[in-house]
């Protein structure tokens, strides 16, 4: 490619898909490679039924994971799941993951659907997570998913791009979660509105895929359409024997046009916490130390992976969580559960007084398994702390890393993990 035609990651994906050069701002009709939905598949199926078609257009592209309220918490949820199973059966959807497999984004990645260079659309705002594997992945609405089931195509605007270069080494007890919280606080909830966010630089290259997933997952909280980290040896090793098909790695060109380039250095970065009721209301943990906590949640698509559980287990080993604090641990998937079980992390957490819950979203969206009463305070490793999200509108949700969550579980108050080192 000539240097004058240098393209961003998003432009490259859109150009490859349309077969002609597409620049940021253009709207084109594209055929995605994979389509994700979860417990909302029942609602999508109802809209799809309006089209009067017998079957969805390409069942092999559909991936459906039940995760938002599993196992069903009430008859209403049970009926919802039942309708989805019927839809799956009628349409011969092979890639269906029933209750207990895990959070959709974790399962989708583990099952080898999140591939470099692929265009993935999901009826969930945190579909951005698959950018960690070099895919172009964006969230869409339910009606749009129904339209995709009917026609296999959808209009998309090629987003302008924002490059976030990260350098420096994380200090002890500081993680990619702290970095992304810091970026969200710095940029605000609309800091990357409708943009493709490319994470780059030595710190991103050094990060694990789990850490990159945390970054790409929460890019949604600054309004990003999608996020991206360049595929590398780690990506290839993860996908080896797991990828559902051959893939083509796609990289942005040198000299591509970015609307903005931001630089961060994580050396000296402190643990961060998002305070109620906005994700961009971010402060250093030191400013909140001592805040009473009633419930701690470790899990979700943001931070429920093995490395996250191990961080928590290391802090809580041979210790007890504070009296009066409920600590709920949700492995993000069955695979995560089994691995954490095998290495003893779950036993350590259970011995410390944590409740080991089933793989799934847990109370993240306020459906079940840890709902908050008025006046209660929850510290969570999730990605959203909006008023009322986990139950009462009079409850408060703080967001942090697994290290800060475990340290705070130990003390019953928001605690700087650097002060209770394992």
């Amino acid at each position: 490619m000539k240097s004058g035609n240098a393209q961003t990651f998003a432009e490259k994906i859109f150009s490859r898909k349309t077969g002609r050069p597409v620049a940021a701002g253009e709207i084109v009709v594209l055929e995605p490679d994979r389509l994700l939905s979860h417990d909302n598949a029942a609602a999508i199926a109802k809209t799809f039924a309006e089209f009067g078609l017998k079957r969805i257009v390409d069942p092999a592209k559909a991936v459906i994971v039940l995760d938002h309220c599993v196992p069903a918490a009430s008859e209403k949820y049970a009926k919802n799941h039942l309708e989805i199973r019927e839809f799956v059966e009628e349409n011969d959807i092979e890639n269906f993951f029933d209750v207990g497999e895990g959070v959709c984004h974790q399962v989708f990645a583990e099952q080898g659907f999140a591939l470099p260079g692929e265009l993935i659309l999901g009826a969930d705002s945190h579909t951005t997570s698959y950018g960690a594997f070099g895919a172009f992945a964006a969230g869409i609405g339910r009606t749009e998913m129904a339209a995709l089931y009917a026609t296999g195509k959808l209009w998309l605007m090629c987003p302008a791009s924002l490059r976030i270069e990260v350098a420096g080494q994380f200090g002890a007890d500081v993680y990619p979660k702290d970095l992304i919280l810091y970026i969200i606080g710095d940029q605000g909830a609309d800091g990357a509105l409708y943009k493709s966010v490319e994470f780059a630089g030595p710190t991103v290259a050094a990060a694990s895929l789990s850490g990159r997933m945390t970054l790409c997952n929460m890019a949604a909280e600054i309004g990003a359409k999608n996020a991206y980290a360049a595929p590398d040896e780690k990506t290839r090793a993860f996908l080896d024997g797991r990828a559902r098909r051959e893939y083509d790695e796609v990289f942005p060109d040198d000299g591509a046009a970015y609307e903005r380039t931001l630089s961060y250095d994580v050396a000296g970065l402190e643990p961060q916490v998002a305070a109620p009721h906005r994700v961009d209301n971010v402060v250093h943990v030191t400013e909140l130390v001592g805040t009473r906590v009633d419930q701690v949640v470790v899990g979700t698509c943001t931070n429920g992976r093995v490395d996250d559980l191990v961080v928590g287990a290391n802090i809580l080993r041979n210790r007890q969580v504070a009296p009066g604090v409920r600590v709920l641990v949700f492995p993000a998937s069955r695979a995560v559960y089994l691995e954490a079980l095998g290495i003893g992390a779950l036993a350590t957490l259970a011995e410390a007084g944590c409740v080991i819950m089933n793989p799934g979203c847990g109370p993240c969206l306020g459906a079940h398994e840890g709902i908050l009463a008025a006046g209660e305070v929850c510290l969570s490793t999730a990605n959203r702390n909006f008023r009322g999200r986990m139950g009462s509108t009079e409850a408060e949700i703080y967001l942090c890393s697994p290290a800060t969550a475990a340290a705070s579980a130990l003390c019953g108050r928001i605690t700087d993990p650097r002060t209770v080192r394992a």
Partner: protein, 164 residues
């Protein structure tokens, strides 16, 4: 070309105040959806809005949840278009897919007041404020205009399927 009376709001109008979450799973009738439009932002809106009125707001209109009713309640209430300095991504999509035209015109916002009559020429990509000043905006591409003209994504898909 449309001409309508303006309802003016500020920045970061979120989907919770456009269509409160407490109704998202219980109400499906279009008239009833319309009756809650902007309820938690401006309780006078749903009662007084007239077909053809235009909602004008600042940046990041429709941020927050992905609920489609946020766009549909305005459409069902008869709103002819939403003009904003910028739109949250999923609202923008939901608006087009729901058949509600959007206009991104950041320079125009400060020159428009509540109650003004403004006109929008979609073909020319031009908005004219009550004081006579006019603003160009990027026209929507043909694919998207087709969806708007069909009345939204569901009727558009039906048309496409019928045409095959």
């Amino acid at each position: 070309m449309i001409r309508g009376k303006v309802w003016k709001y500020g920045d970061d109008v979120n989907t919770d105040v456009i269509f409160p979450g407490r109704y998202t799973y219980t109400i499906t009738d279009p008239g009833e959806i319309a009756s809650h439009a902007l309820e938690d932002l401006d309780p006078t809106f749903a009662k007084n809005v007239r077909p053809g009125d235009i909602v004008v707001a600042g940046k990041n209109f429709g941020c927050g949840s992905s609920r489609e009713q946020a766009a549909l309640c305005l459409k069902y209430a008869g709103v002819a278009a939403v003009v904003a300095a910028s739109f949250a991504r999923i609202f923008f999509r939901n608006a087009i897919n729901g058949g509600l035209p959007t206009v991104t015109a950041p320079e125009a916002i400060a020159r428009i007041n509540a109650g003004d009559e403004i006109s929008i020429d979609f073909e020319a990509g031009e908005l004219t404020a009550a004081d006579g000043s006019s603003y160009e905006f990027a026209r929507l591409p043909a694919e998207v205009v087709g969806i708007l003209e069909a009345g939204g994504l569901v009727p558009w898909v039906k048309k496409e399927l019928g045409a095959k």
